[in-house]
């Protein structure tokens, strides 16, 4: 095993443990903090993949904003958190079965695919992913439409969410 593989395995196992705790912890605040740990692990995976921009965006958006929103939502509904009662619904066994089935199916698909043992091409040292992204996001023959539509989506989400969440007395 090379050093890269060891680093990857440590990060991946830590992430998966954190992710498992997210779905099994009773206390929802703890679940939110475990989610932050899992998201941080995913950010580290992005860094290992040389996707620097995604790694920082993961921390800024997910850890800095989304998880804080989760914590606020948990606080708002905390009276009804029922930390003690059963956290899983009646048919959790069926859910576990479906999740395991999905895992087996995905692994089977990956196993049958020829490109799976591929190793990464050498990272071009002059390549700047951020400016390539900038190019892709604004040039008309690339992704300018998704870029603009994303802002429409965000505005729609903002207006809708604020309207729904706002407490009209």
């Amino acid at each position: 095993m090379t050093i890269d593989q060891i680093i990857f395995l440590v990060v991946a196992v830590a992430t998966l443990i954190a992710a498992f705790r997210v779905v099994t912890t009773g206390n929802l605040i703890h679940a939110a903090f475990w989610l932050i740990a899992a998201l941080f692990g995913v950010a580290a995976i992005f860094a290992i993949l040389h996707a620097s921009f995604l790694a920082v965006v993961q921390v800024v958006v997910y850890i800095g904003a989304i998880s804080i929103l989760f914590i606020f939502a948990v606080m708002l509904t905390r009276k009804d958190m029922r930390d003690q009662g059963p956290q899983l619904n009646r048919n959790w066994g069926f859910g576990a079965f479906l999740a395991a089935l999905a895992l087996v199916g995905l692994v089977f698909l990956v196993h049958g695919w020829s490109g799976v043992t591929k190793t990464a091409p050498a990272f071009p040292s002059e390549f700047d992913a951020v400016s390539a992204l900038g190019n892709a996001l604004v040039s008309p023959d690339a992704y300018v439409l998704p870029f603009e539509v994303a802002s429409v989506l965000l505005v729609a989400a903002l207006v809708g969410a604020v309207y729904v969440a706002y407490n009209r007395k």
Partner: protein, 117 residues
């Protein structure tokens, strides 16, 4: 070796030093706990109930507006990096992008949802 290895080392050192300071303090400090010492400090008044306080929904609204604008500004960073070489067309795209989001801000402002009630 990517430069992220050094960021990882920085994280490691950044953890070691505060942990070291706290462990040193734990080793040196006296430990004589008693129930009075461990009560919650609320200006000497006996604590009533648990720490659950009525959480203002307004915090949530601000976090929500923040989330949307955070994602939006992050989107703008690749645009800003390439702006010098892309010319007027890219600038106008970016301005449209910002203006669409300002509409959202104007809506929440107009509806009085940015007020701290």
């Amino acid at each position: 070796m990517s430069s992220w290895v050094y960021v990882g080392l920085f994280l490691l050192v950044g953890l070691i030093i505060p942990v070291g300071a706290i462990v040193a303090a734990w080793a040196l400090s006296p430990k004589k706990p008693n129930p009075i010492k461990q009560t919650t400090y609320e200006c000497g008044i006996e604590t009533v109930g648990d720490s659950w306080v009525q959480f203002k929904a307004q915090y949530y609204i601000f976090a929500l507006v923040f989330l949307i604008f955070d994602v939006e500004t992050v989107f703008l960073f690749p645009w800003a990096v390439k702006l010098n070489s892309l010319g007027m067309f890219a600038v106008i795209e970016g301005i449209i992008f910002i203006l669409i989001l300002v509409v959202g801000l104007a809506y929440t402002w107009r509806k009085g949802m940015l007020e701290w009630v």
